[in-house]
Every structure is written in structure tokens, then in C-alpha cells.
Symmetry: C2
Subunit: 377 residues, 2 copies
């Protein structure tokens, strides 16, 4: 029986869902595929909870259930100062302890550190374990969108780093691009609608609805961040674009990507509250966007908020695209990626589907973990 | 430097293209990824050509070029009775020699046997090497669509068997399904248009063209097999459907799949020559298909020739599908796969793109080979 020891960092939505997925399918994997997923530690932003003996014990179903319940109630792992046989370490001890676990396990079975947080604070520990030959699986975009210097340290062993869920949740985006690259195909152009929120907004606006109304509906449906400007500003798409561009070999920093924001700086969070933006700000943007939609329609095109990545270009913003393309036909909150390459020159390779949601994102992380199994003993 | 020794079986279109891809990218892989693709043998249906020392030598660029030239001229490897330092074995010795190479390499670096043929004759040798823990990469559908008994022997070590190019050429179909399965997602339904030829035929017929005219045009464009009935009969799609259904765990034989043929038995190859079928047979089918197209259109649907795979169903034939779905919008010869699962329940996961062509198929094979690298030393 092969064993994959895991430390899961971040047990908010995605991390919690991952732990639940692991509980519900680890017996099947052990039975049918000879792989045992063994959770040896769980960390939130403040603490690390680890098993008493990292070589032989694991978090059992009951304990994982308890942790999930605790976290969904908004509590911190630190409240579990003494929980069964498990050890709970405070913030300052977390890095030291993860490093220690890693140094022991790397020499025996191997270890995978899984980052399901949305924080930049994990970059230090990830670099440390990458150097130690630990496998890393990321749902967190921040470590891959920090400086090139940080990036290079993280991708030190490319086969030991998986991050499918950083772009398009569980959609097979990263893996498909990696396969094209390793087959010697030449990628000319990638265009993607990688924000479910902005996909929804652009297709609703295409139907003639005012931006302000669409944004309010999207917020009410839970499609947006608490402050919708976090979506409308485009930075989340820019991070995904950066991850793809770096995969293609572009040595690029986040702040050098041209990002079009759907709202002007004078309506930014420093100048206006969320309430004020929704009540008075966003409606001022209705007409100009409606004009652009109409202008595009007059040439048979539609507007989409996309990333465009070419050999020496990485941009994020509104583009006019043919109505009769995968991106042009997009409705609702699905993500779509079009890849043009030597093999897919006239018609692109298209990957489309739900690109958000804890369930789908966690499923992508779990598939990444299992795809690392050949590196474990 | 990691080494992946390869034996390539079948050097017709796909195999030859694979060898050329290997020549053009193996230096890049060695330099940037530390992986050396080392071709130690090449086999066609009659002979095996192998290097003098399987541990240290490989087919160099010049020799691979010579072999490709020879095969594109329609010659057999057996005509190379003495070619440089290489050894050429006749048919009867091929299996013995591949087994011998495998037994030596499996204990040291490992070996990948790549089947780019379209023959059932390779099943025996593939079973033998599977048992020896050799890695297997298939573009050939036949070994996976033989009896369940043969299938079980081939998938003995699932991680050592890759066959992306058996369905949809280089499109990431198999890998995406495998990822969903390993993440514990539940796949409810897969619908796919997996024949570029039939995709083209159905979208042209949808435009009101008579089937007979579309088939003749498709043949003239080189979209069909020399005898277009090989496409119209649906058996190629049935093989792909079987591969997908077995991946989902269905224990199914090829002859138990319900396959709708676009021509009746009395127009089959035993009853009618190709010329007769094209001149007199196929036009008799024009009206009934046109009627079906019209009937579908009256309910806002279109006809597509698809495979439908559900938990206890695997069928191949014409289906009425919503015009406004990925399959309904399909034009030309692209393949499309729609996957409905727990994670992709309302909207499916869609994979679309060119699903044929030697270049794309060989690229998929090469990506499979490189994805095996963690199993090599």
C-alpha cells in the first residue's frame, strides 16, 4: 500500500471541502488503487494541528469531521489546545513544525503540502518545503503570482508542483497546457474568460440590461465578492492570466500586466464605500458600457472580459469577439479557455465548464494530489 | 539525467510523426526538463529494428530520419537487413526480442512500449510487457477494445498505461475523465461527437445538403476512409465509446454496444462495391435522413452522431440534441465531449477541438510518454 502523507494549509471553504472529499473517498482509493491518503497535519492562519506520530498515525474521520465543524463555525484551530492525542502549535511554531515534519517524511514516504488558503503568508513555508523536495499542491493563487524571484523558488521541481485549481477551479486548464507544451506543440494564443462573475456580467449586459442592475443581481445571487469591485477590478483574472503566462515561459510581474478595470479609480474602495458604489457609483457606468455593447453588436461581435496571452503579450480586459465563437456564445458563469497552437490552429482547443465553487475547486486539488502518487513510496 | 527508453511499434502515419516529434524536441526535454527520450527500437508489422546496446545507445536523428523516409515510401523495415550497427529481426523473432529488451530495461531504467499501429496483432506482446511492469502508451484502439479478458490483462498496472490518443486524438479526454474519477466526482453522463467525419457529415446534412453529396465531398476532401462506409458504419465511434465506458467501470464487450449504422446491411461491403455504394447506394438514403433532420429542426433540435454513456448504457448513433448546446453548435470536423457529473451538473464540462490528424495524435502520444517520467530513473 502506497501512502501519501498530507499537510493541508487553509481550512476555509476549499480546504474544508477537500478534507471532506478525502474522508469520503480515501477508503475507495486505498481499496481500488492501493493509495492511502494520510492527513498528518491541518493548519489555519494561526495554528497547526498535527498527529502524534507522523509515520504511523493520521487524522481519523471523526477528528476531520470535528475540525470541519469547528472551522465552519468560524472558530480557530487554536481553540483546540488539547484535542485527543493531537498536538496544536501556535503561529510562531507552525513553520518550524511543518519543516520538521517535512524533513522526516521526505526521507521516508514523501510528503505533500496542500495550500488551500488565499493568503500570501504561506509563500515562505512553501519555498522552504519546495527546496526540501516536498510535493506541493496549490489552490492558492498568491504564491504563483508573487515576484518572479519567489516564483522561481517555488517551481524548483516542476513535477512536484501541481496547481490545477488556481485557474478555472477543477477545469483541466493547467494540465492541458502542460500536455501541449510537453508534446512540443507551439502555443500561439490563449484567450480565456476566467471569472464566472465577469462572464455572467458581460452576458447579461449583452442582453441589454444596465451594468448597475446586473451587478446588484449578481451580488444578491452570491456571484460576487462582498465588495463587487474585487471582481470588477479584474485583479483576480490578472492573477490567473499571470499563472498561465508564466507557464508559457513569460517572465512577467503582476504589476506589468495591463488590466482594464470596469470602474474608474475615483470609484475605488478608498474613495467610496460599497454601499455608495452600488447606490450611486456603478449606475454612472451604465451608458458607456451599453454604448460599447451596441457598437460591438453592429459588427456582429460581443464584448467579453477576457485574458489574452500571446508570445509577448498578457492583457486582461474587455475584448470584442465574434458572436459565433466559444467565448462569444458563453452564457452565465461558466469559464471558457480557447487555446490556439500548431495542432489547434484553425479551430482552437476549447475547455469549458464551471470554474468556481468549493466542491469543484477541492476536487481539482484532490485530483492533483492523486496524480503525484508515482513520486511516493 | 533521467532516461525514458522507448520501443515504437507501428511506423505508419502516427508512428512516423511521433518519431519526427521526438527528434525535434528531445534536446529541449533533455536540456530543460532533464529527461532523455531514448528510442531503442522501432517495429512495423513485419520486423523490429533495435540498437546494438539497449543500455547505452539509441537511434540517432539520422537513423530515425532514414526510417521515416523508408516507411513513407511504403517500404518495410525488413528491407534494412543490415543498417549500420542496428539489428533487424524478422516477424517471428520480434516478440521474443521485445520481451528480452523489456526484461533487461525494466530492472534498470524502465521501458515504455508505444503502440502507434492500428492492428490487433500487438495485443499479445502488450499483455506480455504489461505483466513485466513495462509502461505502455497506446494510440491504437484495438488492444483496449478486445475482450474484457484481454482488457484486464492490459490495465494490470493502470498508472503504467496511457492512451490519451485513442479517443479524440490529442484532446485531453481520457485524462480529464481520469481526474474526475480520482477526485471522487460521480460521472452521470458523457455525450460525445468523436468522429470528425461524422461530425462534418451531420452538420452539412443539417444545412440541407443531401447525404450522398456530403459523403462524396467528404471523400474528395480526404475526410473519410477509402471506403466511406468504414466511417458511416459507426464502429470507430463504438470503439472510442467502449474505451470511455470501460474507463468508467462498465464491463462491456464491443459487440454488446448498440451501434446505429448510417447505411443498411444490404449496402454493406459484402453486398456492394465502394463505387456502387457511392454511385447508386448512398443516394437512396438521402430522403429519410433529410426527413429526420427536418423533424428535429421542428422541435428546435439538430441531429448529431454521438456516443452516449450513462451508468448502464453505452450507445452509438444519431441523437436529437438541443441546437443551443456545445454538441448542437458543432460545425465541421471538430470533436466535442460533454461530461455531466456532480461537479458539472447543470452545465457540462466541455472539451472541444481537432480530434484527428497524425500531428495531433502523435502529440498526444508524446505528452503521455512524458507524463510517465516519474516512473523512470
Amino acid at each position: 500500500m502506497k501512502s501519501i502523507p498530507l499537510i493541508v494549509m487553509g481550512c476555509g471553504g476549499v480546504g474544508r471541502q477537500l478534507l471532506q472529499h478525502i474522508v469520503s473517498c480515501r477508503d475507495i482509493h486505498a481499496l481500488h488503487h492501493g493509495v492511502r491518503l494520510r492527513v498528518v497535519g491541518v493548519a489555519d492562519s494561526k495554528s497547526l494541528l498535527s498527529v502524534p506520530d507522523i509515520f504511523t498515525t493520521e487524522l481519523d474521520d471523526h477528528s476531520i469531521g470535528e475540525i470541519c465543524r469547528l472551522k465552519s463555525n468560524g472558530s480557530s484551530l487554536s481553540s483546540l489546545t488539547s484535542y485527543g492525542d493531537y498536538q496544536v502549535f501556535s503561529d510562531s511554531e507552525t513553520i518550524t513544525n511543518i519543516t520538521e515534519i517535512a524533513s522526516h517524511l521526505v526521507r521516508s514516504t514523501g510528503l505533500a503540502v496542500v495550500d488551500c488558503s488565499a493568503s500570501s503568508d504561506t509563500i515562505g513555508i512553501l519555498q522552504k518545503v519546495a527546496e526540501m523536495n516536498v510535493c506541493i499542491v496549490l489552490a492558492n493563487k498568491k504564491p504563483l503570482t508573487s515576484s518572479m524571484e519567489d516564483y522561481d523558488k517555488l517551481v524548483l521541481h516542476p513535477r512536484r508542483l501541481r496547481h490545477e485549481s488556481t485557474v478555472g477551479a477543477g477545469l483541466p486548464v493547467i494540465m492541458s497546457i502542460n500536455r501541449l507544451l510537453s508534446s512540443g506543440d507551439t502555443i500561439h494564443r490563449i484567450v480565456g474568460s476566467l471569472s464566472g462573475t465577469l462572464g455572467y456580467v458581460m452576458s447579461e449586459v449583452e442582453d441589454g440590461k444596465p451594468l448597475s442592475q446586473v451587478v446588484k443581481t449578481a451580488k444578491a445571487l452570491g456571484y460576487t465578492e462582498p465588495d463587487p469591485r474585487d471582481d470588477l477590478g479584474g485583479m483576480d483574472v490578472a492573477r490567473k492570466a499571470l499563472i498561465v503566462a508564466r507557464l508559457l515561459g513569460q517572465r512577467l510581474e503582476l504589476d506589468s500586466i495591463k488590466v482594464e478595470s470596469l470602474y474608474p479609480a475615483e470609484m475605488g474602495p478608498n474613495a467610496m464605500s460599497v454601499e455608495d458604489f452600488l447606490a450611486n457609483g456603478v449606475s454612472q457606468l451604465d451608458n458607456s458600457l451599453a454604448d460599447r455593447v451596441e457598437k460591438a453588436a453592429s459588427s456582429g461581435n460581443v464584448l467579453r472580459y477576457v485574458c489574452v496571452i500571446e508570445s509577448s503579450r498578457c492583457e486582461v480586459g474587455i475584448q470584442e469577439l465574434p458572436k459565433n465563437s466559444a467565448l462569444g456564445r458563453l452564457r452565465g458563469s461558466d469559464n471558457v479557455l480557447e487555446v490556439y497552437s500548431r495542432c489547434y490552429s484553425e479551430q482552437p482547443l476549447i475547455i469549458q465548464g464551471a470554474g468556481a465553487g468549493n466542491d469543484t475547486t477541492a476536487a481539482g486539488v484532490l485530483a492533483d494530489i492523486l496524480d503525484l502518487q508515482d513520486l511516493f513510496t
